[in-house]
Amino acid sequence: MEKTGSIDSLGSKQSSSRHPSVDSLSSSERSTQVKAPSCMLSETTTSAEFSPEIRVKPKTQAKVLRDSDKEETQLLPNEVVQDMAQDVTYFCPFTGALRGIVTVSNYRLFFKCMDREPSFVLDLPLGVVSRVEKIGSASSRGDVSYGLVCKDMRNLRFAHKQMDDTLRKSIFEVLMKFAFPVSNGLQIFAFEYGQVFPENGWKVYDAVSEYKRQGIPNESWRITKVNDHYELCDTYPSTMAVPVHIPDEELKRVAAFRAKGRIPVLSWIHPESQATVTRCSQPMVGVNGKRSKEDEKYLQAIMDANAQSHKLFIFDARPIVNAAANKMKGGGYESEDAYQNAELVFLDIHNIHVMRESLRKLKDIVYPNIEDSHWLSNLESTHWLEHIKLILAGALRIADKVESGKTSVVVHCSDGWDRTAQLTSLAVLMLDGYYRTIRGFQVLLEKEWLSFGHRFQLRIGHGDKNHTDADRSPVFIQFVDCVWQLTRQFPAAFEFNEYFLVTILDHLYSCLFGTFLCNSEQQRLKEEIPKRTVSLWSYINSQLEEFTNPLYVNFSNHVLFPVVSLRHLELWVGYYIRWNPRMRPQEPVHQRHKELLAKRAELQKRVDELQREVTNRSASSSSERAGSPTRSITPVQTFV
């Protein structure tokens, strides 16, 4: 009992209370309005001010909204209120200054303004806070002002009166402590959050069964346990697929020639042509043009594993200038002399610093104010869409080589954990319909991003106050943006909806779930993440209907070739500009689609029932009067 109750509070509430009945359909407009706030979907939220805020996290606050006379927030399991302050002003850039109460727990900041009807609520997981800064208390009335710079494209500003009691800390000092637990020797909230979900997300991905799904091992590829103790490569998973003819001993020598020991390993194999997508890091060529016989043999083995083609494409994600510059640091790229039959292609994707800067510019032009008359040229000057285009174009070339050229490809950048992860995961998303299902997408993230060591901890900086860290970069956000672009061009090809993607990004920062903590599989194992935290997939898979694209058709055998021209790419307004109440979508289209599906289910159930009835009746009556149970049809008519 306890268990189901808690799930309700986390969101399956309205779906369980709303049986997909025919009646609910016809009164849908009305009900949509009522239940909108709990729906979290931007399309369905109707109460303007706080629609976006609500989406940040599971819907406990939906309850709060409904019983707005209750003072405190509904807390998550093991969430503890740390401090509370009255008379705090929140300077909302859209609605103006609001006075209310701020509550800080070990998980969130909660601001509530009762002056307004309906009351204004801001609910912010502390994980999204990138930086807290005290803004000069020049104000004559002795107010202290704090600015919160958030990782999810917004900045918040609060102010409160100067404390009379100088010993008492400002609530924002308290906040700073809990917003950056790692820097303050505290635990990230995910380790405390003890919610139990009916689904266990940690079971979603199992490397061996994923390789088995792809038909590995087979006559050319084997699964190796050489990295079982992360000795070959500490950023790779323990289970990897490599060409059959390369013994483990040789793998070690290959590892010595690849940056950080990240040898070429299998990402995906084409079920028919056996063309493969493999990923690795840059070869350690250096200024002297070092070669490695083992590495050359290894790539030859990858090529030989595919009988369809006598060529191998090596996609270097970097611009050629950057690749060449890496030679100074001992890295570089494969020379075509050394690797015969291999063709090297540079994909011109820029590094993490360029991407970080681009997103920063994008934030500047979308938050809080948008300049209408120069919107497009401002957008162009951020180059964000151009970067998205380059990544998509690169992935498209990879997918095209594999699908149309039946050629195996090797993808790398410098370390093979940022751009490489973007490219391989997007390419296989285009190639393999399985990854376009909800579960398949989770497997894709677990495999290409988490197990192959995309450094989430460093790139996001969970609980770390060092906001200027040059290792932070929106690489993963960029990938999710690319996925969103694909869903725009192929709206029926993905089982998940936009909300699924937004939820993933929200919990990338929230630190509520353990999924995106740490930098590698090894670290995750060491920290016992699966034991001590809840997986985001547990939460998502326990309420799949929220995340399902109602119009999904299983085009599993189709390869998606998106158009990557800028003319066909769009800014993901539903993510980047969602805080602006003027941007809220006008129609709950998604809701309508969902209702259509519910209606289908209902109709189908009725037809099934009636058919059973007919079968029974005709079976029972056939002995008496054969084949005339006409009346059994009529219920269908009156009902439908």
């Binding site: 009646d23 359909l25 016809s26 497009l376 162009e380 058709v553 003319r567 066909h568 309508r592 049809i633």
Partner: protein, 801 residues
């Protein structure tokens, strides 16, 4: 000019005469049908044909290639797919098939050879055998035909030449010969003159039509005046205008002189909350105002609201017609990738170049102005008068946008057609000059109507389920505006239009010897073909395409409540006496003001009479009503966070659809402008014959289940099992890929909010016109018959007749 065009026509006739006879001999025998299955119009001759041609299908057609035969006639480039169903010989002639291109809409002919592309002009010669023929159309379509290796070279070259020679590059006079080619034959004239007009829409041509509109809007206090019946008061105004009841025609007559071109304030629409929307041209300032005139002028302007009138000046914050023309030209150049010159904007400059066209800015400005007006009207009990210098361009845009926003009827297909009739066609938008069909007046050309369609599309894309018309309909209208065949678009005013149609009748006699002073030599003689109105869709769109013009929507509401009674009671109560008109405000740049010279006769310093008048009548505009007005406007701009949940659209169907106007929200109408984008091919993927749209799959699922049901009890249901209609779903299918919006077409059917809960599936369908009901019927199987009956019975009502 006329003579010249006639002779060119003749010359061309002779040129091709022999070939024609050869090619279409058998065709003529088989009642206008060519041996190769092209159904010719009466009198239409095939000039050339090529076999084994493949046509590239666009995104909305499902992509891929379609093979068939290509024809060139005097009138069109026709393409007949191989497996096209045999045309019914007895069916009415259709001007253009789904794959045809009218010669007049071709702008450029380009051929692609093995390693070169060439722009083909009437005089150019071909030195290579083209592999591909690309027709760039004025309506931004790019139609691409691919010749097979098996197509005889001679045919390829001949047809390319034939098209290049006959497509009529822009020059004065070419339009007439085109019209003659299409409609000039005796049979065609006969056919067109017997054609019935769509009786379900309001043409706003007769007094009864206007009366009907007054009743539909529940507007009392107004009457239809026939003072301009012979266009003596104003040449550009329609025959019938709606004016306040209390103004007599004799009084009215004196007012025309005070307005530019006699376009006095006229009623357009009444908001259900009782405000009236008026349009007028600017004042003629130099006219001496007599005291009686002034009273009349104010009576007309204030309509039946004596207290408050807001004049919305449209000149200031909206683009000029020259701006619009320039922007559209740039947009065309940007969107229409041209392989003959291969000048395209580099991808990384796409966004700023698009911004540089200002087209999106202009749509935003128009929408903004219209939403301001809509918000004012929502306030109730006032007169909002749109004033534009000539009252023939942007006031058409704004007044019709306001109605699309506020009036659900105008979002149905027929309602929209009526609206265009009311605010554009009869109101005297200069379609003819703005369209510049004869290419003889580049200075006047401006696609104001296309700008309006784009604005409507912006609204549509934000609120797709609130529209019964579909984006396909908007697109069809967009394309039709480029085709010089329709009476709706080939005249500048109702007067010109009626002149044209009277010429058709043999017994035309000028009334009272009145002759058109502008065209003295236009007698009854010229054999202009009778031009059909643009709304006669079956002339050029197949049933299948027309079915895609509408989508099921939740019923707007019950027929309009009897608002008048109540409102009028209120009005009477608070109404000051006739003689003292109230405050007039000017809305400009979002600010209300009350400039002294707003009404030139009020406070005019020089005129003694106005001085007297001012003393006796002028009340100081109550300054306290300004904030009130501003509050109304503020509801529009969401910068101020709305307090409370937004108004429930179901509760109030007349709550305006206010568009989002921020930069990221105004999008490019890709389905229209990007149709020609040559790089859009890669879209083709998950769509194929084997994979159908989810909604279709859903339909099939239900059908399959029903068949199983039927098998269980064969006697009863065999007759009822509905047959699948794959044709109706073809267009649904295509939407799956149209990247810009998530399946716009279906959500309408998902939730009929106002419907009674009982027979659940029915209401959404019942509300839709019949063709839609058909389209979706099989989803719900057995209820078909019952529901169709109901759908039929509801049609007249939902069309708002």
């Amino acid at each position: 000019m006329l003579a010249g065009s006639k002779s060119t026509f003749k010359v061309r006739q002779m040129e091709t005469d022999i070939k024609e006879r050869l090619l279409s001999q058998s065709g003529m025998n088989a009642r206008g049908r060519d041996v190769f299955e092209l159904r010719c119009l009466p009198g239409e001759c095939v000039l050339q044909r090529a076999v084994m041609v493949r046509k590239k299908l666009t995104a909305s057609e499902g992509r891929g290639w379609l093979s068939g035969t290509l024809f060139c006639t005097h009138f069109r480039v026709a393409f007949v797919p191989q497996d096209a169903p045999k045309a019914d010989d007895n069916a009415d002639p259709i001007l253009l098939g789904d794959h045809d291109v009218a010669l007049a809409s071709i702008e450029k002919v380009v051929v692609v050879g093995p390693n070169r592309t060439k722009l083909v002009t009437p005089n150019s010669s071909l030195k290579f055998t083209p592999e591909e023929l690309v027709l760039y159309c004025r309506d931004l379509r790019v139609v691409c035909f691919l010749f097979d290796r098996l197509t005889p070279d001679a045919q390829v070259i001949e047809i390319t030449h034939a098209i290049a020679k006959t497509y009529q590059p822009l020059k004065p006079g070419s339009v007439l010969s085109f019209q003659n080619a299409a409609l000039g034959s005796v049979e065609m004239k006969q056919f067109l003159s017997n054609r019935r007009r769509d009786a379900h829409m309001n043409w706003h041509e007769s007094a009864a039509d206007w009366q009907r509109e007054l009743e539909r809007c529940g507007a009392t206090g107004w009457r239809v005046s026939s003072v301009n019946d012979r266009f003596e008061m104003s040449t550009s105004l329609p025959r019938f205008i709606v004016v306040p009841q209390k103004v007599l025609d004799t009084e009215l007559k004196k007012s025309f002189a005070h307005f530019n071109d006699g376009r006095i304030p006229r009623w357009c629409w009444r908001h259900p909350r009782g405000s009236d929307l008026l349009r007028m041209a600017s004042f003629q300032n130099n006219i001496y105002h007599e005291k009686d005139d002034i009273r009349n002028l104010e009576l007309i302007l204030f309509g039946c609201h004596s207290s408050l009138c807001v004049v919305v000046e449209l000149g200031e914050e909206l683009p000029s017609t020259a701006d619009i023309q320039l922007a559209h030209g740039r947009l065309r150049a940007l969107c229409l990738g041209d392989i003959s010159t291969s000048v395209t904007v580099p991808d990384d400059k796409w966004l700023s170049t698009l911004e540089g066209t200002h087209w999106l800015d202009y749509t935003r400005w128009c929408l903004k102005k219209a939403s301001e007006v809509a918000c004012l009207l929502r306030g109730g009990h006032m007169t909002v008068a749109l004033q534009e210098a000539e009252d023939r361009d942007l006031s058409c845009v704004v007044s019709s946008l306001v109605q699309v926003m506020c009036d659900p009827h105008c979002r149905t297909r027929r309602g929209f057609q009526s609206l265009v009739q009311k605010e554009w066609v009869t109101a005297g938008h200069r379609f003819y000059s703005r369209g510049n069909y004869h290419r003889d007046n580049d200075k006047e050309e401006a696609p104001v109507f296309l700008l309006f369609l784009d604005c409507v599309w912006q609204l549509w894309s934000r609120y797709p389920s609130r529209f019964q018309l579909s984006d396909d309909f908007l697109l069809a209208l967009h394309d039709s505006a480029h085709l010089p065949l329709f009476s709706s678009f080939l005249a500048n005013s109702q007067r010109e239009r009626s002149r044209g149609s009277q010429n058709l009748g043999q017994c035309y006699t000028p009334v009272n010897g009145w002759r058109d002073p502008l065209h003295p030599d236009s007698g009854p003689e010229p054999p202009d073909p009778p031009l059909p109105p643009v709304w006669d869709w079956s002339l050029r769109y197949s049933e299948r395409r027309q079915a895609g013009f509408t989508q099921p929507v939740p019923p707007a509401s019950a027929p309009r409540p009897t608002l008048n009674g109540n409102l009028n009671a209120d009005l009477e109560a608070g109404k000051p006496s006739d003689a003292s008109p109230g405050s007039v405000f000017l809305l400009s740049r979002g600010v209300f003001s009350c400039p002294a010279n707003l009404l030139p006769w009020r406070g005019g310093v020089g005129s003694g009479i106005s001085g007297v008048y001012r003393k006796s009548h002028r009340r100081a505009p109550s300054s306290e009503s300004v904030p009130g007005l501003e509050r109304l406007l503020r509801a529009r701009s969401l910068t101020e966070a709305p307090s409370g949940p937004p108004p429930d659209p179901v509760q109030d169907p007349y709550e305006p659809l206010l568009p989002l106007l921020m930069g990221p929200c105004v999008g490019l109408w890709k389905e229209c402008y990007h149709r020609g984008a040559l790089h859009a091919q890669a879209f083709s993927h998950p769509l194929s014959a084997n994979h159908r749209h989810p909604v279709e799959l859903l339909g099939r699922e239900v059908q399959r289940l029903q068949e199983r049901l039927a098998r269980a009890c064969p006697a009863s249901s065999s007759a009822e099992t509905p047959r699948p209609r794959p044709a109706g779903f073809a267009d649904l299918n295509h939407n799956a890929n149209n990247g810009t919006f998530l399946f716009p077409r279906h959500h309408g059917s998902a939730s009929p909010p106002k419907a009674p809960p009982a027979p659940s599936a029915a209401p959404a369908l019942a509300a839709a016109p019949k063709e839609n009901a058909n389209k979706h019927t099989f989803l719900f199987g057995h209820a078909t018959d019952a529901r169709l009956g109901r759908a039929n019975s509801k049609v007249p009502k939902s069309n708002g007749s």
